[in-house]
Symmetry: C2
């Protein structure tokens, strides 16, 4: 039965991959941070670093998906406010962590894009799940076209997060949140303004 070693390894890997990326993080560093013995790593992840990476990506992705559902699920928020809340969550995380906690997927996604198909695929799955969660929320509120707007929101969010983290300045996230939220509002039939055109 369950020691939590495996979970601690995933957690430590998630944190380190998020901060430093996949290639720069050594397995020794992960076992060290997790307080896990070296031997356990290959016991739980016989596929080695690549398997640990893929599972970590899905693990982080799932955790954020629950966060999506939480923010989007608040009944009192209209979709534009929900989008704004989500950007704000990242602003808070960035500041609290002193610019360490960016997107837990993006770094690995870029590194793995040409390097490891299983890893890239895991990242793609996570992004798809996030997009679909956002699109469902938009569709249920009549924000259309829900799928396209979800892709757009996610793109703007990921990009602004990169810019803010690199510049050590939350301005990109704040500015982008404003404009994107307005776009969403303009596609929301319940809002005060109707969509243009």
């Amino acid at each position: 039965m369950g020691s939590d070693t495996r979970a601690r390894l995933l957690e430590a890997a998630a944190q380190l991959f998020r901060e430093q990326g996949y290639a720069a993080t050594g397995l020794k560093q992960i076992t060290g941070a997790a307080g896990a013995p070296w031997g356990s790593l290959y016991h739980f992840f016989p596929g080695g670093k690549e398997q640990l990476g893929a599972e970590t990506v899905r693990h982080s992705g799932g955790r954020y998906l629950r966060l999506f559902d939480l923010v989007y699920g608040r009944a009192e928020n209209d979709p534009a406010d929900a989008v704004r809340d989500f950007f704000q969550l990242s602003i808070d995380a960035l500041e609290k962590s002193e610019w360490a906690d960016g997107c837990p997927i993006a770094t690995v996604a870029l590194e793995a894009s040409t390097t490891s198909e299983p890893l890239r695929h895991a990242c793609a799955e996570v992004f798809t799940a996030w997009r679909e969660a956002t699109a469902r929320r938009f569709a249920s509120e009549g924000v259309e076209p829900a799928g396209d707007l979800a892709v757009y929101v996610l793109s703007a969010f990921e990009g602004a997060l990169i810019l803010s983290r690199t510049a050590h300045d939350t301005t990109p996230l704040r500015v982008t949140a404003d404009i994107v939220a307005r776009t969403v509002r303009d596609h929301h039939p319940g809002a005060t303004n109707n969509p243009p055109t």
Copy 2:
């Protein structure tokens, strides 16, 4: 005087960092790709990998800046069309390279964010230069607020590029380009529609 070894090293490093990232790329691999002798690397870049990385980032950033000026400078394009053209350039680059050629800065920026201050700073400078070039173009056409919209366009572009490259699918870039171009058009006094609100 000029052998081109130093230039070839920068070029090879730029390509490899773009494809695989900074940490995953070995110096041996760079000298190999550049056809440059190992000894030359530390002759031209006595600061080692970090100096090479920082100079490579600025090198790639400058090259793209000229591309910005080229696209934004076309007189017949209004700003919304220029934005669309720029997204299209990346779509073409992604497809032609079979998803290898993403943003030459983003991967390194994410990797270096907590790892190397000089490298992060170089990336931040490049992003700033890109934003300013875009903002200048917007301001000269009366697209306001030019600075905010430039940050927004750059964010959406970077994010969509990540999503498209990870998914091996140009849809995020195409969808995001449409919506972002419309936003820019809506802030352009010369366009058929006036800005909302």
